[in-house]
Protein backbone atom coordinates (compact mmCIF):
# COMPACT_ATOMS: atom_id res chain seq x y z
CA UNK A 1 0.00 0.00 0.00
CA UNK A 2 1.02 3.56 -0.63
CA UNK A 3 4.22 2.71 -2.41
CA UNK A 4 3.37 5.22 -5.09
CA UNK A 5 5.93 7.76 -4.03
CA UNK A 6 9.60 7.06 -4.06
CA UNK A 7 10.05 7.83 -0.39
CA UNK A 8 7.12 5.74 0.73
CA UNK A 9 8.98 2.53 1.44
CA UNK A 10 7.54 1.10 4.60
CA UNK A 11 4.22 -0.41 5.40
CA UNK A 12 2.23 -2.44 7.86
CA UNK A 13 1.42 -5.94 6.80
CA UNK A 14 -0.74 -8.79 8.03
CA UNK A 15 0.94 -12.15 8.14
CA UNK A 16 -0.39 -15.57 9.01
CA UNK A 17 1.08 -17.69 11.71
CA UNK A 18 2.56 -20.76 10.04
CA UNK A 19 3.52 -22.36 13.30
CA UNK A 20 4.63 -21.75 16.82
CA UNK A 21 6.78 -23.82 19.11
CA UNK A 22 8.17 -23.46 22.57
CA UNK A 23 11.94 -23.61 22.46
CA UNK A 24 12.43 -23.79 26.19
CA UNK A 25 10.89 -22.39 29.35
CA UNK A 26 9.16 -19.22 28.30
CA UNK A 27 10.97 -18.78 24.99
CA UNK A 28 8.96 -19.34 21.82
CA UNK A 29 9.60 -19.36 18.10
CA UNK A 30 6.82 -18.13 15.88
CA UNK A 31 6.90 -18.63 12.12
CA UNK A 32 5.01 -16.20 9.94
CA UNK A 33 3.95 -16.40 6.32
CA UNK A 34 2.88 -13.73 3.87
CA UNK A 35 3.43 -12.34 0.41
CA UNK A 36 5.29 -9.41 1.87
CA UNK A 37 8.15 -11.70 2.81
CA UNK A 38 9.44 -11.51 -0.71
CA UNK A 39 10.05 -7.78 -0.24
CA UNK A 40 11.29 -8.29 3.29
CA UNK A 41 13.92 -10.86 2.39
CA UNK A 42 15.19 -8.71 -0.42
CA UNK A 43 15.67 -5.71 1.84
CA UNK A 44 16.31 -7.04 5.31
CA UNK A 45 19.63 -6.57 7.05
CA UNK A 46 20.81 -8.67 10.00
CA UNK A 47 20.02 -6.85 13.23
CA UNK A 48 16.83 -5.24 12.01
CA UNK A 49 13.59 -5.78 13.88
CA UNK A 50 9.88 -5.70 13.19
CA UNK A 51 7.15 -4.03 15.20
CA UNK A 52 4.50 -6.50 16.26
CA UNK A 53 1.10 -4.86 16.82
CA UNK A 54 -1.14 -6.46 19.42
CA UNK A 55 -4.77 -7.56 19.16
CA UNK A 56 -5.53 -6.67 22.76
CA UNK A 57 -6.66 -3.13 22.16
CA UNK A 58 -5.78 -1.98 25.64
CA UNK A 59 -2.10 -2.46 24.72
CA UNK A 60 -1.52 -0.07 21.88
CA UNK A 61 2.20 0.23 21.48
CA UNK A 62 4.14 -2.00 19.13
CA UNK A 63 6.44 -4.71 20.44
CA UNK A 64 9.83 -4.60 18.74
CA UNK A 65 11.17 -8.08 18.00
CA UNK A 66 14.40 -8.86 16.16
CA UNK A 67 14.25 -10.76 12.92
CA UNK A 68 15.73 -14.13 13.72
CA UNK A 69 15.71 -15.34 10.15
CA UNK A 70 13.68 -15.50 6.98
CA UNK A 71 13.83 -18.98 5.55
CA UNK A 72 11.65 -21.10 3.27
CA UNK A 73 9.31 -18.19 2.85
CA UNK A 74 8.79 -17.83 6.59
CA UNK A 75 9.75 -15.09 8.96
CA UNK A 76 10.94 -16.46 12.28
CA UNK A 77 10.84 -14.53 15.52
CA UNK A 78 12.16 -15.91 18.77
CA UNK A 79 10.90 -14.22 21.91
CA UNK A 80 10.58 -14.60 25.62
CA UNK A 81 7.23 -14.11 27.35
CA UNK A 82 7.73 -11.26 29.78
CA UNK A 83 4.43 -9.36 29.78
CA UNK A 84 1.05 -8.78 28.20
CA UNK A 85 2.18 -8.47 24.61
CA UNK A 86 4.50 -11.43 24.45
CA UNK A 87 1.91 -13.46 26.37
CA UNK A 88 -0.58 -12.62 23.65
CA UNK A 89 1.89 -13.69 20.96
CA UNK A 90 2.48 -16.98 22.70
CA UNK A 91 -1.25 -17.63 22.35
CA UNK A 92 -1.26 -17.34 18.56
CA UNK A 93 -2.02 -20.48 16.65
CA UNK A 94 -1.36 -21.62 13.14
CA UNK A 95 -3.52 -19.60 10.78
CA UNK A 96 -4.01 -16.63 13.11
CA UNK A 97 -3.36 -13.18 11.73
CA UNK A 98 -0.39 -11.19 13.03
CA UNK A 99 0.17 -7.55 12.24
CA UNK A 100 3.73 -6.39 11.61
CA UNK A 101 5.74 -3.50 10.26
CA UNK A 102 8.37 -3.66 7.57
CA UNK A 103 11.88 -4.35 8.87
CA UNK A 104 12.98 -1.36 10.91
CA UNK A 105 16.20 0.16 12.15
CA UNK A 106 19.72 -0.24 10.93
CA UNK A 107 21.22 -3.66 11.20
CA UNK A 108 24.79 -4.61 11.91
CA UNK A 109 27.31 -2.83 9.73
CA UNK A 110 29.02 -5.48 7.66
CA UNK A 111 30.97 -3.10 5.44
CA UNK A 112 33.88 -3.41 7.85
CA UNK A 113 33.93 -7.17 7.45
CA UNK A 114 35.16 -7.97 4.02
CA UNK A 115 37.16 -10.95 5.12
CA UNK A 116 38.57 -12.56 8.22
CA UNK A 117 36.51 -13.82 11.10
CA UNK A 118 33.81 -12.61 13.40
CA UNK A 119 32.90 -13.29 16.99
CA UNK A 120 29.17 -13.32 17.76
CA UNK A 121 28.24 -12.89 21.39
CA UNK A 122 24.63 -13.34 22.42
CA UNK A 123 22.69 -13.48 25.64
CA UNK A 124 19.20 -14.98 25.99
CA UNK A 125 16.70 -13.44 23.61
CA UNK A 126 19.55 -11.33 22.23
CA UNK A 127 20.63 -14.41 20.31
CA UNK A 128 17.90 -14.45 17.62
CA UNK A 129 19.32 -11.61 15.48
CA UNK A 130 22.73 -13.27 15.60
CA UNK A 131 21.35 -16.24 13.73
CA UNK A 132 20.46 -14.08 10.76
CA UNK A 133 23.80 -12.32 11.09
CA UNK A 134 25.70 -15.62 11.10
CA UNK A 135 23.91 -16.63 7.93
CA UNK A 136 24.77 -13.38 6.22
CA UNK A 137 28.42 -13.56 7.29
CA UNK A 138 28.51 -17.09 5.99
CA UNK A 139 27.15 -15.92 2.64
CA UNK A 140 29.94 -13.42 2.53
CA UNK A 141 32.56 -16.05 3.27
CA UNK A 142 33.36 -14.74 6.70
CA UNK A 143 34.01 -17.34 9.34
CA UNK A 144 32.30 -16.89 12.63
CA UNK A 145 32.41 -18.21 16.12
CA UNK A 146 29.53 -17.74 18.54
CA UNK A 147 29.54 -17.47 22.30
CA UNK A 148 26.04 -17.77 23.68
CA UNK A 149 24.87 -17.24 27.21
CA UNK A 150 21.70 -18.38 28.95
CA UNK A 151 20.25 -18.36 32.40
CA UNK A 152 19.43 -22.02 32.34
CA UNK A 153 18.29 -23.91 29.27
CA UNK A 154 19.89 -22.99 25.95
CA UNK A 155 18.03 -22.56 22.68
CA UNK A 156 18.96 -21.92 19.01
CA UNK A 157 22.23 -23.79 19.60
CA UNK A 158 21.76 -26.29 16.80
CA UNK A 159 20.76 -23.60 14.36
CA UNK A 160 23.89 -21.63 15.22
CA UNK A 161 26.09 -24.71 15.04
CA UNK A 162 24.95 -25.35 11.49
CA UNK A 163 26.34 -22.01 10.39
CA UNK A 164 29.15 -21.05 12.71
CA UNK A 165 32.57 -22.67 12.88
CA UNK A 166 32.28 -23.01 16.59
CA UNK A 167 29.60 -22.40 19.18
CA UNK A 168 30.42 -22.05 22.87
CA UNK A 169 27.66 -22.08 25.43
CA UNK A 170 27.52 -20.66 28.92
CA UNK A 171 24.72 -21.00 31.43
CA UNK A 172 24.46 -19.06 34.66
CA UNK A 173 23.72 -22.15 36.67
CA UNK A 174 26.13 -24.41 34.83
CA UNK A 175 23.36 -26.74 33.77
CA UNK A 176 24.73 -26.69 30.25
CA UNK A 177 28.22 -25.82 28.95
CA UNK A 178 30.36 -23.36 30.85
CA UNK A 179 29.12 -22.27 34.26
CA UNK A 180 29.12 -18.49 34.23
CA UNK A 181 28.49 -15.67 31.84
CA UNK A 182 29.66 -15.17 28.27
CA UNK A 183 32.31 -12.65 29.15
CA UNK A 184 33.92 -15.05 31.60
CA UNK A 185 33.72 -17.77 28.99
CA UNK A 186 35.37 -15.57 26.37
CA UNK A 187 38.16 -14.66 28.80
CA UNK A 188 38.76 -18.29 29.66
CA UNK A 189 38.69 -19.34 26.03
CA UNK A 190 40.97 -16.46 25.10
CA UNK A 191 43.52 -17.45 27.73
CA UNK A 192 43.46 -21.06 26.68
CA UNK A 193 43.30 -20.80 22.93
CA UNK A 194 43.66 -17.17 22.02
CA UNK A 195 40.82 -15.12 20.62
CA UNK A 196 41.19 -14.19 16.98
CA UNK A 197 38.38 -12.12 15.56
CA UNK A 198 38.41 -9.08 13.36
CA UNK A 199 35.01 -7.93 14.49
CA UNK A 200 32.72 -8.65 17.41
CA UNK A 201 28.93 -8.44 17.18
CA UNK A 202 26.70 -8.68 20.18
CA UNK A 203 23.12 -8.55 21.38
CA UNK A 204 21.87 -9.25 24.87
CA UNK A 205 21.17 -7.72 28.26
CA UNK A 206 22.83 -4.41 28.97
CA UNK A 207 25.16 -5.58 31.78
CA UNK A 208 26.49 -8.25 29.42
CA UNK A 209 27.03 -5.72 26.63
CA UNK A 210 28.75 -3.38 29.00
CA UNK A 211 31.14 -6.02 30.30
CA UNK A 212 31.82 -7.14 26.76
CA UNK A 213 32.49 -3.56 25.73
CA UNK A 214 35.11 -3.28 28.49
CA UNK A 215 36.73 -6.49 27.35
CA UNK A 216 36.78 -5.48 23.70
CA UNK A 217 38.20 -2.07 24.51
CA UNK A 218 41.03 -3.73 26.40
CA UNK A 219 41.70 -6.13 23.56
CA UNK A 220 41.19 -3.44 20.94
CA UNK A 221 38.54 -5.44 19.21
CA UNK A 222 35.87 -3.51 17.28
CA UNK A 223 32.44 -4.27 18.77
CA UNK A 224 28.97 -3.57 17.50
CA UNK A 225 26.13 -3.90 20.01
CA UNK A 226 22.38 -4.05 19.52
CA UNK A 227 20.55 -2.09 22.21
CA UNK A 228 17.03 -2.15 23.61
CA UNK A 229 14.88 0.66 24.83
CA UNK A 230 11.18 1.15 25.52
CA UNK A 231 9.57 2.48 22.38
CA UNK A 232 6.62 4.61 21.43
CA UNK A 233 6.49 4.20 17.67
CA UNK A 234 9.49 2.08 16.70
CA UNK A 235 10.02 4.02 13.47
CA UNK A 236 11.56 7.34 14.38
CA UNK A 237 8.56 9.58 14.96
CA UNK A 238 8.55 10.11 18.72
CA UNK A 239 12.16 10.08 19.98
CA UNK A 240 10.90 7.88 22.79
CA UNK A 241 13.76 5.38 22.60
CA UNK A 242 16.77 7.56 23.35
CA UNK A 243 20.24 6.27 24.08
CA UNK A 244 23.27 8.36 24.83
CA UNK A 245 25.84 8.15 22.07
CA UNK A 246 29.22 9.86 22.10
CA UNK A 247 29.93 11.36 18.74
CA UNK A 248 32.21 14.22 17.75
CA UNK A 249 33.16 14.61 21.39
CA UNK A 250 29.59 15.27 22.46
CA UNK A 251 26.93 13.06 23.99
CA UNK A 252 23.95 12.93 21.72
CA UNK A 253 20.58 11.34 22.27
CA UNK A 254 19.96 8.91 19.42
CA UNK A 255 16.89 6.83 18.66
CA UNK A 256 17.36 3.10 19.16
CA UNK A 257 14.65 2.33 16.62
CA UNK A 258 15.97 4.52 13.86
CA UNK A 259 19.64 5.26 14.46
CA UNK A 260 20.09 1.80 16.01
CA UNK A 261 19.38 -0.69 17.35
CA UNK A 262 23.02 -1.42 16.46
CA UNK A 263 25.68 1.01 17.65
CA UNK A 264 29.44 0.98 17.93
CA UNK A 265 30.20 -0.06 21.49
CA UNK A 266 32.90 2.58 21.80
CA UNK A 267 30.33 5.29 21.07
CA UNK A 268 27.76 4.10 23.60
CA UNK A 269 27.70 6.07 26.82
CA UNK A 270 27.19 3.29 29.36
CA UNK A 271 25.25 4.67 32.30
CA UNK A 272 25.75 3.08 35.67
CA UNK A 273 22.55 1.14 36.24
Amino acid sequence: MCRDKEWVQKSLVTGRVAGQERLTGDVYRIRIQGDFLEDFSREVKPGQFVNVYMKDRSTLLPRPVSICRIQSGQLELVYRVVGKGTREMAGYHRGDAIRLSSPLGNGFDLSCCQSGSALLVGGGVGIPPLLQLAGELNNRGIRSMAVLGFQREPFLIQEMEKICDKVLVATEDGSFGFAGNVVQLIEKEGQEKGLAADQVFSCGPKPMLKALADLCRERELPLQVSLEERMGCGYGACVGCAVDIKQDGKIQRKAVCKDGPVFLAEEVFWHAE
Partner: protein, 311 residues
Amino acid sequence: MQNKRKEPDLTVDLAGIWLKNPITTASGTFSPRDSGQFYDLNQLGAMITKGIAPEPWEGNPSPRIAETYGGMLNAVGLQNPGVEAYIREELPYLEQFSPPVIANVVGRTVEDYCRVAEALSDTSVAMLEVNISCPNVKAGGIGFGTDPAMAALVTREVKRISKKPVLIKLSPNVTDITEIARAVESEGADGISLINTLLGMSIDARRAKILLANGTGGLSGPAIKPVALRMVYQVCRAVQIPVLGLGGIRTGEDAAEFLMAGASAVSVGTAALFNPLAPIEILQELKEFMMEMGYRTIAEMRQAFQEGQGK
Protein backbone atom coordinates in the same frame (compact mmCIF):
# COMPACT_ATOMS: atom_id res chain seq x y z
CA MET B 1 -30.12 13.23 1.31
CA GLN B 2 -28.90 13.56 -2.21
CA ASN B 3 -25.29 13.54 -3.37
CA LYS B 4 -24.75 10.64 -1.05
CA ARG B 5 -21.88 9.19 -3.00
CA LYS B 6 -20.26 12.44 -4.07
CA GLU B 7 -16.90 13.15 -2.44
CA PRO B 8 -17.33 15.73 0.28
CA ASP B 9 -15.45 19.02 0.32
CA LEU B 10 -12.98 18.60 3.18
CA THR B 11 -11.29 21.97 2.99
CA VAL B 12 -11.15 24.05 6.11
CA ASP B 13 -9.84 27.43 7.17
CA LEU B 14 -7.61 27.35 10.23
CA ALA B 15 -6.95 30.85 11.50
CA GLY B 16 -6.59 32.21 7.98
CA ILE B 17 -4.70 29.28 6.52
CA TRP B 18 -6.45 27.13 3.99
CA LEU B 19 -6.09 23.38 4.52
CA LYS B 20 -7.20 20.88 1.92
CA ASN B 21 -8.48 18.68 4.73
CA PRO B 22 -8.70 19.01 8.51
CA ILE B 23 -6.20 16.24 9.33
CA THR B 24 -2.87 17.41 10.71
CA THR B 25 -0.07 15.69 12.57
CA ALA B 26 0.22 16.33 16.30
CA SER B 27 3.49 17.84 17.39
CA GLY B 28 6.05 15.38 18.68
CA THR B 29 4.47 12.36 17.04
CA PHE B 30 5.50 13.17 13.48
CA SER B 31 8.86 13.08 11.79
CA PRO B 32 8.68 14.05 8.13
CA ARG B 33 11.41 11.70 6.96
CA ASP B 34 10.18 8.77 9.01
CA SER B 35 6.42 9.22 8.87
CA GLY B 36 6.85 9.89 5.16
CA GLN B 37 8.13 6.39 4.67
CA PHE B 38 4.66 5.08 5.41
CA TYR B 39 2.47 7.47 3.43
CA ASP B 40 2.60 10.40 1.10
CA LEU B 41 2.84 13.54 3.21
CA ASN B 42 1.09 15.50 0.48
CA GLN B 43 -2.17 13.95 1.63
CA LEU B 44 -2.08 15.80 4.95
CA GLY B 45 -4.02 18.94 5.74
CA ALA B 46 -0.98 20.40 7.47
CA MET B 47 2.29 19.16 8.93
CA ILE B 48 2.83 20.13 12.55
CA THR B 49 6.41 19.52 13.57
CA LYS B 50 7.94 18.74 16.92
CA GLY B 51 8.54 21.41 19.55
CA ILE B 52 11.48 23.65 18.68
CA ALA B 53 13.48 25.69 21.19
CA PRO B 54 16.04 28.43 20.50
CA GLU B 55 18.88 26.03 21.33
CA PRO B 56 19.13 22.24 21.14
CA TRP B 57 17.46 20.44 24.06
CA GLU B 58 18.63 16.99 25.00
CA GLY B 59 15.38 15.93 26.65
CA ASN B 60 15.05 13.39 29.44
CA PRO B 61 16.93 10.16 29.99
CA SER B 62 15.32 6.82 29.10
CA PRO B 63 12.94 5.18 29.75
CA ARG B 64 10.82 7.90 28.23
CA ILE B 65 7.79 5.82 27.29
CA ALA B 66 5.36 3.78 29.34
CA GLU B 67 2.34 2.01 27.99
CA THR B 68 -0.90 2.53 29.87
CA TYR B 69 -4.38 1.11 29.46
CA GLY B 70 -5.63 2.54 26.18
CA GLY B 71 -2.90 5.15 26.12
CA MET B 72 0.72 5.93 26.85
CA LEU B 73 2.89 8.18 28.95
CA ASN B 74 5.81 10.05 27.45
CA ALA B 75 8.59 11.97 29.08
CA VAL B 76 10.62 12.76 26.00
CA GLY B 77 11.25 16.14 27.55
CA LEU B 78 10.96 18.02 24.28
CA GLN B 79 14.29 16.84 22.89
CA ASN B 80 14.93 18.95 19.80
CA PRO B 81 17.82 20.20 17.71
CA GLY B 82 17.07 23.90 18.16
CA VAL B 83 15.63 26.41 15.76
CA GLU B 84 18.75 26.86 13.67
CA ALA B 85 19.05 23.19 12.83
CA TYR B 86 15.30 23.17 12.22
CA ILE B 87 15.58 25.93 9.65
CA ARG B 88 18.68 24.43 8.11
CA GLU B 89 17.75 20.76 7.96
CA GLU B 90 14.05 20.27 8.55
CA LEU B 91 12.38 23.09 6.65
CA PRO B 92 14.05 22.54 3.27
CA TYR B 93 12.96 18.93 3.43
CA LEU B 94 9.39 19.92 4.36
CA GLU B 95 9.25 22.42 1.51
CA GLN B 96 9.16 19.53 -0.95
CA PHE B 97 5.60 18.81 0.18
CA SER B 98 2.50 20.87 -0.45
CA PRO B 99 0.76 20.98 2.96
CA PRO B 100 1.52 24.02 5.08
CA VAL B 101 4.02 23.61 7.89
CA ILE B 102 2.99 24.56 11.41
CA ALA B 103 6.00 24.85 13.68
CA ASN B 104 5.49 23.90 17.31
CA VAL B 105 7.47 26.23 19.60
CA VAL B 106 8.72 25.49 23.10
CA GLY B 107 10.63 27.50 25.67
CA ARG B 108 11.69 27.80 29.28
CA THR B 109 11.33 31.57 29.35
CA VAL B 110 9.25 34.09 27.47
CA GLU B 111 12.43 35.11 25.67
CA ASP B 112 12.94 31.54 24.49
CA TYR B 113 9.55 31.55 22.79
CA CYS B 114 10.23 34.94 21.25
CA ARG B 115 13.61 33.91 19.88
CA VAL B 116 12.09 30.95 18.07
CA ALA B 117 9.16 33.02 16.81
CA GLU B 118 11.54 35.62 15.50
CA ALA B 119 13.81 33.11 13.83
CA LEU B 120 10.85 31.49 12.08
CA SER B 121 9.29 34.75 10.93
CA ASP B 122 11.08 34.84 7.61
CA THR B 123 10.84 31.17 6.77
CA SER B 124 8.38 29.05 4.83
CA VAL B 125 6.59 28.10 8.03
CA ALA B 126 2.89 28.93 7.68
CA MET B 127 1.97 29.20 11.31
CA LEU B 128 3.30 28.77 14.82
CA GLU B 129 1.80 26.53 17.46
CA VAL B 130 3.11 27.70 20.80
CA ASN B 131 3.26 24.92 23.35
CA ILE B 132 2.71 26.55 26.72
CA SER B 133 2.75 23.30 28.67
CA CYS B 134 6.44 23.91 29.36
CA PRO B 135 7.60 24.86 32.85
CA ASN B 136 8.60 28.49 33.27
CA VAL B 137 12.04 28.35 34.84
CA LYS B 138 11.79 31.96 35.95
CA ALA B 139 8.56 31.23 37.83
CA GLY B 140 9.82 28.27 39.80
CA GLY B 141 8.93 25.76 37.11
CA ILE B 142 5.20 26.41 37.10
CA GLY B 143 3.78 25.62 33.68
CA PHE B 144 3.13 28.69 31.51
CA GLY B 145 -0.13 27.04 30.55
CA THR B 146 -1.45 26.61 34.06
CA ASP B 147 -1.63 30.29 34.88
CA PRO B 148 -3.80 32.70 32.87
CA ALA B 149 -1.42 35.62 33.40
CA MET B 150 1.64 33.70 32.21
CA ALA B 151 -0.28 32.27 29.28
CA ALA B 152 -1.37 35.77 28.35
CA LEU B 153 2.18 37.08 28.65
CA VAL B 154 3.65 34.47 26.32
CA THR B 155 0.88 35.13 23.83
CA ARG B 156 1.38 38.88 23.89
CA GLU B 157 5.13 38.69 23.44
CA VAL B 158 5.08 36.06 20.72
CA LYS B 159 2.32 37.87 18.85
CA ARG B 160 4.33 41.06 19.02
CA ILE B 161 7.36 39.50 17.39
CA SER B 162 5.92 36.90 15.04
CA LYS B 163 5.07 37.62 11.42
CA LYS B 164 3.19 34.35 11.32
CA PRO B 165 -0.25 33.58 12.71
CA VAL B 166 -0.03 32.04 16.16
CA LEU B 167 -1.92 29.16 17.72
CA ILE B 168 -1.50 28.75 21.45
CA LYS B 169 -1.52 25.13 22.54
CA LEU B 170 -3.09 24.72 25.95
CA SER B 171 -2.31 22.34 28.76
CA PRO B 172 -5.34 20.37 30.03
CA ASN B 173 -3.95 20.20 33.57
CA VAL B 174 -5.97 23.15 34.77
CA THR B 175 -9.09 23.78 36.78
CA ASP B 176 -10.80 25.93 34.15
CA ILE B 177 -9.60 25.61 30.58
CA THR B 178 -11.89 28.38 29.36
CA GLU B 179 -10.15 30.88 31.63
CA ILE B 180 -6.80 30.18 29.95
CA ALA B 181 -8.44 30.19 26.52
CA ARG B 182 -9.96 33.61 27.10
CA ALA B 183 -6.67 34.92 28.42
CA VAL B 184 -4.78 33.99 25.28
CA GLU B 185 -7.61 35.14 23.03
CA SER B 186 -7.58 38.55 24.64
CA GLU B 187 -3.86 38.90 23.87
CA GLY B 188 -4.41 38.31 20.19
CA ALA B 189 -3.86 34.59 19.68
CA ASP B 190 -5.03 33.67 16.19
CA GLY B 191 -6.24 30.31 17.37
CA ILE B 192 -6.01 27.70 20.09
CA SER B 193 -4.81 24.11 19.99
CA LEU B 194 -5.89 21.66 22.63
CA ILE B 195 -5.25 19.40 24.35
CA ASN B 196 -1.68 18.65 25.27
CA THR B 197 -1.06 15.63 27.50
CA LEU B 198 -2.50 14.99 30.97
CA LEU B 199 0.09 14.65 33.69
CA GLY B 200 0.39 11.01 34.78
CA MET B 201 2.65 8.45 36.37
CA SER B 202 3.38 4.79 35.96
CA ILE B 203 4.85 2.42 38.52
CA ASP B 204 6.42 -0.90 37.67
CA ALA B 205 5.03 -2.93 40.57
CA ARG B 206 7.35 -5.89 40.00
CA ARG B 207 10.45 -3.74 40.19
CA ALA B 208 8.87 -1.47 42.83
CA LYS B 209 9.99 1.56 40.86
CA ILE B 210 8.59 4.51 39.00
CA LEU B 211 8.75 3.52 35.37
CA LEU B 212 9.77 6.73 33.61
CA ALA B 213 13.21 8.11 34.36
CA ASN B 214 11.60 11.54 34.69
CA GLY B 215 9.07 10.40 37.30
CA THR B 216 5.93 11.79 35.71
CA GLY B 217 4.97 11.89 32.04
CA GLY B 218 2.27 13.08 29.69
CA LEU B 219 -0.73 10.83 29.13
CA SER B 220 -1.99 10.67 25.56
CA GLY B 221 -3.95 8.37 23.28
CA PRO B 222 -7.53 7.07 23.07
CA ALA B 223 -7.81 6.94 26.87
CA ILE B 224 -7.89 10.76 27.10
CA LYS B 225 -10.33 11.45 24.27
CA PRO B 226 -13.35 12.22 26.48
CA VAL B 227 -11.38 14.87 28.39
CA ALA B 228 -10.07 16.39 25.16
CA LEU B 229 -13.48 16.48 23.55
CA ARG B 230 -15.02 18.13 26.60
CA MET B 231 -12.34 20.82 26.63
CA VAL B 232 -12.60 21.46 22.89
CA TYR B 233 -16.37 21.78 23.24
CA GLN B 234 -16.04 24.18 26.17
CA VAL B 235 -13.34 26.33 24.57
CA CYS B 236 -15.19 26.56 21.25
CA ARG B 237 -18.07 28.10 23.17
CA ALA B 238 -15.87 30.39 25.26
CA VAL B 239 -13.82 32.08 22.54
CA GLN B 240 -14.33 33.39 19.00
CA ILE B 241 -10.98 32.28 17.58
CA PRO B 242 -10.63 28.95 15.80
CA VAL B 243 -9.67 25.79 17.62
CA LEU B 244 -7.44 22.93 16.52
CA GLY B 245 -8.69 19.88 18.38
CA LEU B 246 -6.71 16.85 19.43
CA GLY B 247 -6.38 14.19 22.07
CA GLY B 248 -6.89 10.51 21.46
CA ILE B 249 -8.15 10.74 17.88
CA ARG B 250 -7.86 7.28 16.38
CA THR B 251 -10.67 6.94 13.81
CA GLY B 252 -12.53 9.04 11.27
CA GLU B 253 -15.52 9.18 13.60
CA ASP B 254 -13.28 10.47 16.39
CA ALA B 255 -12.18 13.27 14.07
CA ALA B 256 -15.82 13.97 13.18
CA GLU B 257 -16.67 14.29 16.88
CA PHE B 258 -14.03 16.99 17.41
CA LEU B 259 -15.17 18.83 14.28
CA MET B 260 -18.77 18.64 15.48
CA ALA B 261 -17.75 19.95 18.88
CA GLY B 262 -16.44 23.00 17.05
CA ALA B 263 -12.84 22.35 16.09
CA SER B 264 -11.73 23.87 12.77
CA ALA B 265 -9.22 21.09 12.23
CA VAL B 266 -7.76 18.20 14.19
CA SER B 267 -4.40 16.58 14.89
CA VAL B 268 -3.54 12.93 15.07
CA GLY B 269 -0.90 12.17 17.69
CA THR B 270 -0.48 8.92 19.57
CA ALA B 271 -2.53 7.02 17.00
CA ALA B 272 0.27 7.69 14.52
CA LEU B 273 2.70 6.04 16.92
CA PHE B 274 0.77 2.79 17.21
CA ASN B 275 -0.32 2.94 13.58
CA PRO B 276 2.06 4.85 11.29
CA LEU B 277 -0.68 5.13 8.68
CA ALA B 278 -3.21 6.60 11.11
CA PRO B 279 -3.37 10.13 9.66
CA ILE B 280 -4.32 9.00 6.19
CA GLU B 281 -6.54 6.18 7.39
CA ILE B 282 -8.41 8.66 9.57
CA LEU B 283 -8.70 11.02 6.61
CA GLN B 284 -10.17 8.24 4.49
CA GLU B 285 -12.58 7.18 7.23
CA LEU B 286 -13.71 10.75 7.78
CA LYS B 287 -14.42 11.10 4.07
CA GLU B 288 -16.41 7.87 4.05
CA PHE B 289 -18.29 8.81 7.19
CA MET B 290 -19.31 12.13 5.67
CA MET B 291 -20.39 10.44 2.45
CA GLU B 292 -22.44 7.88 4.32
CA MET B 293 -24.16 10.54 6.39
CA GLY B 294 -24.59 12.85 3.44
CA TYR B 295 -22.51 15.74 4.73
CA ARG B 296 -21.04 17.74 1.87
CA THR B 297 -18.78 19.99 3.91
CA ILE B 298 -17.22 20.09 7.35
CA ALA B 299 -19.32 23.14 8.11
CA GLU B 300 -22.51 21.24 7.24
CA MET B 301 -21.52 18.44 9.59
CA ARG B 302 -20.84 20.86 12.43
CA GLN B 303 -24.14 22.56 11.70
CA ALA B 304 -26.03 19.29 12.00
CA PHE B 305 -24.56 18.79 15.46
CA GLN B 306 -25.37 22.30 16.58
CA GLU B 307 -28.95 22.00 15.46
CA GLY B 308 -29.36 18.59 17.06
CA GLN B 309 -28.03 20.02 20.28
CA GLY B 310 -29.99 23.20 20.16
CA LYS B 311 -26.75 25.08 20.76
